[in-house]
């Protein structure tokens, strides 16, 4: 079975500072990895996805993530955050064990302070 671990439940950061949200997955086969963002009172929307090829993936709103197969990680980064980035971020994985239904992590709450 596939699983996702988001190591931080909450990440507070000041505006314009860099941020990294951590995600590790468990799998011994090829996987597809996703980051979703959920703003208050909304559903999830896709931030970026890794399918194959370059291990550095760029997404919307200046976010990027790096796929590291040896460390089974897919950490999300942004060099300079804004107040509007305050949201819940979810890492998800599909493909392991033949399941196309994504497994989600518990989410990381990014709180950007002025």
């Amino acid at each position: 079975a596939q699983s996702v671990t988001q190591l931080d439940s909450q990440v507070p950061v000041f505006e314009e500072a860099p941020v990294e949200l951590r995600c590790n997955y468990s799998s011994s086969v090829s996987v597809y990895l996703f980051w979703y963002v959920q703003y208050p009172n909304q559903g999830l929307q896709l931030l970026l996805k890794y399918l194959s090829g370059s291990t550095l993936v760029k997404g919307i709103n200046g976010f990027e993530a790096e796929f590291n197969k040896s460390q089974t990680s897919f950490h999300l980064r942004k060099p300079s955050v804004h107040i509007s980035d305050t949201a819940e971020y979810f890492c998800a994985v599909t493909g392991s064990g033949g399941s196309y239904i994504p497994t989600f992590g518990r989410g990381t709450s990014l709180i950007v302070h002025p």
């Binding site: 996702v4 439940s9 597809y32 996703f34 979703y36 009172n41 909304q42 559903g43 999830l44 929307q45 896709l46 996805k49 399918l51 979810f90 599909t94 493909g95 196309y100 239904i101 994504p102 497994t103 989600f104 992590g105 518990r106 989410g107």
Partner: protein
């Protein structure tokens, strides 16, 4: 801009009532899903559908039921609501697959229904 719609957005209801949470999508997606979301917890899959007249239970035991009579519509019903059903319910869909796209197509989510059972 949402192409998948959930109603109502908020619902407060008494114990024992029957409720139906509505979900509709206009994208022609064949696969649809219901997730339950509680603070600080993973999104738990409670039901999914491959297409019309196809429904499956997810990994989280649920007393709810679903139906898929039309491609665009995937309602979730609780026959007798209980306080333990208080949660946020998210509906999602994904497009038809060919080859590997079954695994790499992202989900499209509605804005959710926040249910409170008193």
């Amino acid at each position: 801009e949402a192409d998948i719609y959930q109603t109502p957005r908020y619902l407060v209801i008494g114990t024992g009532k029957k409720i139906t949470l509505e979900c509709s999508q206009t994208m022609g997606h064949d696969k649809m899903y219901w997730y339950q979301q509680d603070p600080g917890m993973e999104l738990h899959l409670i039901h999914y559908s491959y297409g019309v007249n196809s429904t499956e239970k997810g990994d989280l035991s649920s007393e709810s039921t679903v139906s898929r009579i039309r491609t665009e519509h995937f309602p979730l019903t609780l026959e007798s609501a209980r306080p333990s059903h208080t949660s946020q319910y998210l509906c999602a869909s994904s497009p038809p697959y060919s080859g590997t796209s079954a695994y790499n197509s992202p989900l499209h989510f509605g804005n959710g229904t926040r249910l409170t059972v008193t």
